[in-house]
Symmetry: C2
Subunit: 310 residues, 2 copies
């Protein structure tokens, strides 16, 4: 089973408004609420594709109960640890006139040392059955080295780690040697100070990551791995909501480890699922028609050392 860890789950609430007026007062349409957080979205995509998956992480309060209820309704297996602080909400205001989505993300609960220790033991009990663990998304009030600790825990149990984190949480985890880290272009540049994705990915590997898959938006994916360097992309632009494309990519990379796919197949699948997530209405969903249509058009090319600086 693939275990996804979401330390900072969210209830993602969408407020439809006819138009967004700064300083105004809006009566919103019927709000739509959905369990979210990056690891939850990864679990949804894996579940949609029939991959055995278990969502875990920290939940608290009534918002946490709503998250569990929504996952149960979606049929996604989950086993979260409870914390006293309430899980966060995100509010996204979608304006009908402009199409603009304006997001407000609460920071998430404080987590006590005892709660954190209990979660580490809870995760350990799940790792015996896990081939891959996905560590994804922002941290609530837990130590910034949280992902490093969980990466080391997984390694002690022979479980592969796919990490999607940013800034200090990413940097702190690198030295533990996660199997794959997946920054996007701006995260990679911000973390490394390098504008070249190939050089940035190489630096993250130098700092400990075994492989780096950088998502470069319309330029597709760059994979910097012990087996070689690849680029994978799609010769068309898809319109839609890019939120959730990164989570679909992470889901494919985790499935690839679990299924023992070679890198070109992992990358082809990751590009197809990401592109199909852009078309889907919500994060955590992949549009099956788009996925199947684009699959055979994806270009996966190996980059050789001499070409890196071209």
């Amino acid at each position: 089973v693939i275990v996804t860890v979401t330390l900072n789950v969210a209830l993602d609430v969408t407020y439809p408004v006819p138009t967004l007026e700064v300083g105004g007062s809006h009566v919103v349409g019927t709000p739509h609420a959905r369990a979210g957080g990056k690891g939850v979205n990864v679990a949804r995509v894996l579940h949609q594709h029939g991959c055995p998956v278990l969502a875990t992480g920290l939940v608290g309060g009534p918002t946490g109960a709503d998250v569990r209820d929504d996952l149960a309704a979606a049929g996604v297996a989950h086993d979260f640890a409870e914390v006293a602080g309430p899980s966060r909400r995100t509010v996204t205001v979608v304006a009908a006139d402009s199409g603009d989505a304006t997001a407000f993300n609460e920071p998430g609960p404080e987590v006590s040392a005892a709660e954190w220790g209990a979660f580490v033991r809870h995760l350990e009990s799940l790792l015996a059955e896990a081939s891959v663990v996905v560590l994804s998304g922002s941290l609530p009030g837990v130590p910034v080295y949280a992902y490093r600790e969980l990466t080391r825990l997984a390694q002690r149990h022979g479980t592969a780690v796919v990490l999607d984190a940013t800034q200090v949480a990413l940097l702190a985890a690198l030295e533990a040697g996660p199997d794959i880290v997946k920054p996007n272009a701006s995260e990679l540049a911000a973390t490394t100070g390098l504008t070249s994705p190939v050089e940035g990915a190489g630096q993250l590997r130098d700092r400990g990551a075994r492989a780096v898959v950088a998502s470069l938006g319309v330029d597709g994916l760059l994979a910097h791995t012990p087996d070689g360097l690849w680029r994978a992309s799609i010769p068309e632009r898809l319109a839609g909501n890019p939120t959730g494309a990164g989570d679909a990519c992470v889901a494919a990379l985790a499935a690839g480890i679990a299924e023992g796919w070679a890198w070109p197949q992992r990358l082809r699948t990751a590009v197809a699922w990401s592109a199909a997530a852009v078309v889907a209405p919500h994060a955590g969903t992949v549009d099956p028609d788009t996925r199947d249509r684009v699959h055979d058009h994806i270009l996966v090319e190996e980059i050789h050392a001499a070409d890196v600086h071209r």
Copy 2:
């Protein structure tokens, strides 16, 4: 006791952001949550002034539980009826750079006919002890004649009614003859189609209201009553948040009935509390220093028939 009815209670959540960027993604500061809804704010102001008050209305779901908990923490007596649908939240985004407050108000739950009937019986059980009932704020999914039904119920028990409602909910209630209705200038104009507040207030009385107190912003209050016409105003402008000034005014009008004050005293108190609510940081709070400082400077003047059209 003064009973305040809030059919559409809210958990009022404030999101502080450094700046509000339409189409952007914001990590908000620690959200502040507070029980709200106009009747709840009225109850808070009365409680602050030592007036015996009981807050009632409809609450549901975890948000309703948060509303009750917050009122309990504030020491405000309350006895709500439970409904199956969850109480609404309002989200106000406050931008530090511009000071703009941008509000998003959820519509509120649907209420079944059985739940509505149960609430009417619940309110009836509270009216035996009530001198005044305040009906205030928007309606959730209940019939638009809800305030008319509650006004008639109060009258059968000899309880005075102060009504703060808008549009169809206000118009439907007028024929039941509420003791005081409190529109603001724009509500009065929208409801009557008349630009003159004196004429608009007169029309609402013709339609059934016993007295009308219109809040005219910086121009103060206009009272159109069986005992005469008055204007009450304050010879200074106060800077702050006007949200909640109307609720402080309603609180003073209800206290005036309960205490048997003559109209000039009611209006003087209503202007003082409203002005002091503008200065206070949250709706439902009156700044005591401002209230006491402005009280003796308030002008209350009776308008005579010959002067109405001046």
